[in-house]
Amino acid sequence: MPDLGLEVLWKGKNFARLLGGLWVALRISLIAALISVAAGILLGVLASRKHSVFSAILQVWLGIIHIMPQMVLLFLMYFGTTRAFGWNLSGETAAIIVFSLWGTAEMGDLVRGAVSSIPAIQRESAEALGLRPIQVFRFVILPQAVRRLIPLSINLITRMIKTTSLITLIGVVEILKVAQQIIEANRKASPNAAFGVYLTVFVLYYLACRPLSLAAKHLEKHWG
């Protein structure tokens, strides 16, 4: 059995430290996801009306977010704002802002899509039954839209979690940074730690994302 450098994990609080690093990543995604869902629903509903300015705003916003790599957006937020406005954002704040901007645009688009994908005849038949517009939205449109939305928003959160891996590159101490520190500290005692520790990080990310994507797939199948 070759030395896979796994023993490092059981030394001291190393494994707990890794989990702590993962939690930093998860916390950032969760905060950003909450902001995105709230702001995205608002934006999406506003944009789903015909000839709405919000629809145009959303399109441009989404275009910018989609064309730039997230790494570049993080970089712009982290270094750019210091330069332009003299703000000294922490890496974590910069990450939450970028993820929220990204998530709000995507959620907004998903909500707009879900609302407008419901056939007009549904709204018309509800109106024909004598429901008021707000009732039509509450009892007919929303329940159908939410079913389509939930799996898609879970997917968005999964993608956010995966993207948090990048924030180590703007100086946030999260799981990858902790991993590097552990490997560095045990360079002499376990020269092969890089294998075991990075493998663990890999598995932990998988364990964090897999249940979510599984849930999304399941819901898509049963609600789709």
Partner: protein, 219 residues
């Protein structure tokens, strides 16, 4: 904005952009091949291979590229597998992208009606002929938008290559800012370079998608 400085570093960005394009294209090509093989394995229900490919797809789609790269670049050498930075980037991109491409192709193949396959079989075509001449052309058209979206996505993912010491656009920008504190100029160049690469790709994707949707051969 110091235009003289920009002119000076432009060649550096050109070189970096070329590296991004080159490694990105190679990784995407490999990813497409891996994806097609996985999709074929799942379509034909090849016993063991089908299990392996579906596990691979799940793993590649549920882990970040950066972590995959770290594992390949820093982890694997400890058990004797060494790759140069460029090869590592391409491999990582192919590993990640293979899963996404497999899903794109698989859903395209599944979207072709089963009776189309039966109709081809009833004409006496073999399974392979049926796949190549009847299913694949239809699946390709259905998968094209997802394929192009993956191409753009994977091209964007190359922006983490700097983490395995590839001198790509991110690396160059960071390096220059660190050395000369020219933040504005470098961010401008960084965004400009990515726009130059990604805008045409994404425009190509949407043109293609529209063409397929409105002028396709769909029944």
């Amino acid at each position: 904005m110091d235009w003289g400085y920009i002119q000076n570093v432009l060649p550096l960005y050109g070189k970096a952009a070329w590296l991004t394009l080159r490694t990105g294209a190679a990784g995407i090509l490999l990813a497409a091949i891996v994806g097609l093989l996985c999709a074929a394995a799942s379509h034909w229900r090849v016993p063991v291979l089908r299990r392996i490919t579906s596990a691979y797809v799940e793993i590649s789609r549920n882990t970040p590229l950066l972590i995959q790269l770290f594992f390949i670049y820093y982890g694997l050498p400890k058990i004797g597998i060494r790759t140069r930075p460029e090869a590592c980037g391409i491999l990582g991109l192919a590993f990640l992208g293979g899963g996404y491409m497999a899903e794109a192709f698989r859903s395209g193949i599944e979207a072709v009606d089963r009776i189309q396959e039966e109709s081809a079989l009833s004409l006496g075509l073999t399974r392979l002929q049926t796949f190549l001449h009847v299913i694949l052309p239809q699946a390709a058209a259905i998968s094209a938008p997802a394929f192009m979206a993956n191409v753009v996505f994977l091209m964007k993912e190359t922006s983490v290559f700097s983490a395995v010491s590839l001198m790509d656009l991110m690396f160059t920008a960071k390096d220059q800012i660190g050395l000369y504190y020219r933040t504005a100029e470098n961010l401008f160049l960084l965004v400009g370079a990515y726009l130059l690469i990604l805008l045409p790709l994404s425009m190509l994707g949407s043109v293609w998608e529209r063409r397929l949707r409105y002028a396709g051969f769909g029944t």
